[in-house]
Amino acid sequence: MNKMDFNKLQNEGVENVPMQQRRDFLKMGLAITGIFAGGTLLSAASTFNKAQAADFAKKYPYSPHYSMVMRQDRCIDCERCMEACVATNHVPNVHGAYRTTILEKDTSDAIGSTKEFIPVLCNQCNLPQCTRVCPTKATYKDKTTGIVMMDIKKCIGCLTCQEGCPYNARYFNEEKKAVDKCNFCIDTRLARGEKDTACAHACPAGVRVFGDLSRQDSEVFKTVHQIEKAVWVLRPEAGTRPNVFYTKG
């Protein structure tokens, strides 16, 4: 048989490809795009991006879809993040007032380190309870970024949102006479051209990685979508689809 001239081959169409063969290819992550030379040759393309695209838009409906990944084991409770947050967002120095804080977890029978520090802040959930229960719509999802915002003029201080929040991320600000919470520094930093939050910027250990989940080249996306290291969220049972992720290492 002579050497085939691939450029001269005609695509005979994929209509007649048997279902089983299509499925076999799909399992390999390939979609058949053409048959040539009476079915002895097939062309195929990766289905990876196509299959993910629909899922992806559902999962990360905002652009930029702001998110934070905590490399938890690096946290040393130096509290520079908390200081930076207080200074940047004018959080009053009152007991119980914070936009971000650090929790401690003791595992006294562990080998090596027995203590873990867990930085927490508003998880900017995709399905937030707080916005759902707010009677005046004073708290809402920002349509562009997905950040859970506060309209303090509308807040009546009923604190129902505090009850609804599974992450304890809201406090009543006596000065504003309204509930206050983390908004990823959207007004104090992001709107002024900064690329990260005050807490992420202040962290000396690189615990807090801030970024855009809707961009596949972002560090947050790459961390959340790998399988080598465990990635988790706090209180997944609350079903609020949080946008703050945790990992180690």
Binding site: D73, R74, C75, I76, D77, C78, E79, R80, H95, G96, Y98, T101, I102, E104, G112, S113, T114, K115, E116, F117, Q162, N168, Y171, P204, A205
Partner: protein
């Protein structure tokens, strides 16, 4: 009476001998606050592991609490290069400086706990 005097003398002798042989060290833990807050060093923990004063003093640390933190190179990177705590905490003699962070970094809450001798002031609702 005589027995009491003898026992007192013996007790004093034992105490003197003890002081002469054991290394005297500050009982209270040292908590560094620069460059980050809440970093613990306990003489007791290290002495109990059988270390002696001259293993660190004055080669790695001067005998003045928190003097080292005035140096601009008192950072983790220096430890990885074998300076300060890193002389031993290199993974061979003692756990490596880039592991078990929270063992030494007790944090601001840990520091408060040490000061108050109990729980730190509870934050949150």
């Amino acid at each position: 009476m005589t027995i009491r005097i003898i026992s007192t003398v013996l007790a004093l002798l034992a105490l003197a001998a003890g002081l002469a042989f054991a290394n005297a060290y500050p009982e209270a833990p040292i908590v560094f606050d620069k460059p980050v807050r809440g970093v613990l060093f306990s003489h007791k923990t290290h002495m109990e592991k059988g270390l002696s004063c001259e293993m660190c003093h004055n080669r790695l640390f001067e005998m003045q609490a928190k003097k080292a933190q005035q140096n601009s190179d008192f950072v983790m990177e220096s430890l990885y290069q074998g300076k300060y705590c890193g002389a031993c905490h290199n993974g061979t003699l003692a756990f490596a400086s880039n592991t078990r962070c929270a063992t030494c970094h007790i944090g601001v809450k840990g520091e408060e706990r040490l000061k108050n001798g109990g729980k730190p002031e509870k934050k949150g609702h």
